[in-house]
């Protein structure tokens, strides 16, 4: 095995096993900090030995053995030392995967969104604080502080470590999906920084969504989000040109798209829709599937896309969704109708670069070139993403 393959295999095992082990330890020890420290130590040992000795047949059991040794040191002063140790010796298999509890606790609404994201990346995905800091362009100290505060609140305010009851499940699942969606968006097209796309965060979000889908196989919105992320990632290769500039959907080379992945994700959207509990993620996935399955830009089913945005607006009446509906309207009723619609959003979206970029395109189509240039300049001022800036600069 070459080093790259070996590292990739190691990363995959870590991702699968680290969260499982953390979740188990949190359940037994009842303490996030201690559990994370122990897992971190165990991973360091594995990192030293696995590349030399090979990945063990049962990596989870191997890690648990190492973790157990560390736990004994940490637990000595615990009043329930023997009881907890016994559980570590024969970990009781809980009815459901512990990782699901871990995810729900990390995404508890009593934590800020920032804390939810940091905690999920740390405990479920096994990111180190400096990896999280790099992903969100902030300092390691800020992330460490955020994690400390979040764990302290979990303990002090007794945020429970469990899967929410049926009555609360929808709302709580909404929090989890929002965290994954933010993670994905941040990774897919970052709002600032040198790299236009951080593959890691988007990949992590895809993995988390797939994990959530395995753990909750009958939740249509989980299917929707998972499909949405896969549909985006299946087309990722054609999004940037050789110089790192963003390529618009219209100009993308569709032969580079991963057709089997697109078909599988589109199937998932259909399966979700059969459950008859529509929601914003399913609708967004359906819209992206329309684009992804279309053989060319010219043959896009814009009426269908317009109608899907119309339905999405009923679930999510936000100005950004209205902006996207207006873009679809351009291909159903023409640029004049679309511009009329876009212009009603000035107050809500005046600080959003895509509002100005969309106006610029519509104005250019209508031959109002001076106004179009002004709109492009306004868009340029409002985005820090290098790939988007390059595209806008080219237009000006």
């Amino acid at each position: 095995m070459d080093t790259v393959t070996a590292n990739a295999a190691l990363a995959a095992v870590f991702r699968e096993e680290a969260a499982r082990l953390t979740a188990l330890l949190v359940r037994i020890l009842g303490d996030f900090d201690v559990a994370e420290d122990i897992v971190q130590d165990a991973l360091v040992v594995a990192l030293e030995r696995w590349p030399r000795e090979g990945i063990p047949d049962q990596p989870g059991a191997w890690l648990l053995t190492v973790a157990r040794r560390r736990a004994i040191d940490k637990l000595r002063r615990d009043v329930r030392y023997h009881e907890k140790l016994a559980q570590l010796d024969q970990p009781e298999r809980s009815a459901s995967d512990d990782r699901l509890r871990l995810i729900f606790t990390c995404c508890h609404p009593a934590l800020s969104r920032e804390a939810q994201v940091a905690l999920t990346l740390r405990t479920v995905c096994g990111f180190t604080p400096d990896e999280i800091a790099a992903a969100f362009l902030t300092s390691e100290a800020t992330i460490a502080q955020r994690l400390v505060r979040a764990r302290r609140k979990i303990r002090a305010a007794a945020i429970p470590y469990r899967i929410p009851d049926a009555g609360e499940l929808n709302e709580r699942l909404g929090e989890v999906l929002a965290v994954l969606y933010l993670m994905f968006n941040e990774g897919y097209l970052t709002s600032a920084g040198e790299q236009p796309e951080r593959r890691d965060l988007a990949e992590e979000a895809e993995w988390l969504a797939a994990l959530l889908l395995r753990l909750m196989p009958t939740e249509p919105e989980v299917m929707g989000l998972s499909a949405l992320i896969r549909l985006h990632r299946a087309r990722a290769r054609s999004r940037f040109d050789a110089e790192g500039r963003l390529v618009l959907l219209r100009d993308q080379d569709r032969s580079q798209w991963d057709r089997p992945a697109i078909a599988a994700a589109a199937d998932l959207v259909v399966t979700a829709s059969r459950l008859r509990r529509p929601g914003p993620y399913q609708l967004q996935a359906a819209i992206i599937a329309c684009h992804a399955e279309s053989p060319s830009w010219e043959r896009t089913d814009w009426l269908q896309i317009f109608l899907l945005y119309q339905t999405l607006l009923a679930h999510d009446p936000s100005p950004v969704v209205r902006l996207n509906r207006a873009i679809a309207l351009r291909y159903v009723s023409g640029p004049e109708a679309a511009l009329r619609d876009v212009d009603t959003l000035r107050e809500a979206l005046g600080r959003y670069h895509l509002y100005h970029a969309t106006r610029a395109e519509l104005l250019r189509e209508l031959g109002r070139l001076t106004e179009a240039r002004h709109a492009d300049a306004a868009a340029l001022q409002l985005t820090a993403n290098p790939a988007e800036r390059a595209l806008l600069e080219q237009r000006l």
Binding site: A110, A157, A158, I159
Partner: protein, 115 residues
Amino acid sequence: MKYVLLFGGTREAQQAWDTMPDDVRQQAYTRVEQWFRENGSKITGGYQLQSPGTATTVRLDGNGGSMVTDGPFIEGNEVIGGYAEIEVGDLDEALRMARTWPGGGIVEIRPVVAR
């Protein structure tokens, strides 16, 4: 797990409460009393407070000196109208209680320091 629920609202809401017709206020009281009855087994104490206009604030300078001012210490538009001490299993249970509070406004859930 012990928490204190702090019931708050805006000054306008407080004034509306103070000036509402007696029968309307009575109805509102009935709903609040019913909430206290339904959650009786989890409530270990608490009071409705008199209006913020009756509050007096003492600020200590840490060197033995102090300054007394008229009014509540929270600045801004929010006022505390009352509190309840509760004993429940975890934050989710406290959240369920707070969500059904019939008094409207804001409910802050604070765990207490256990000694």
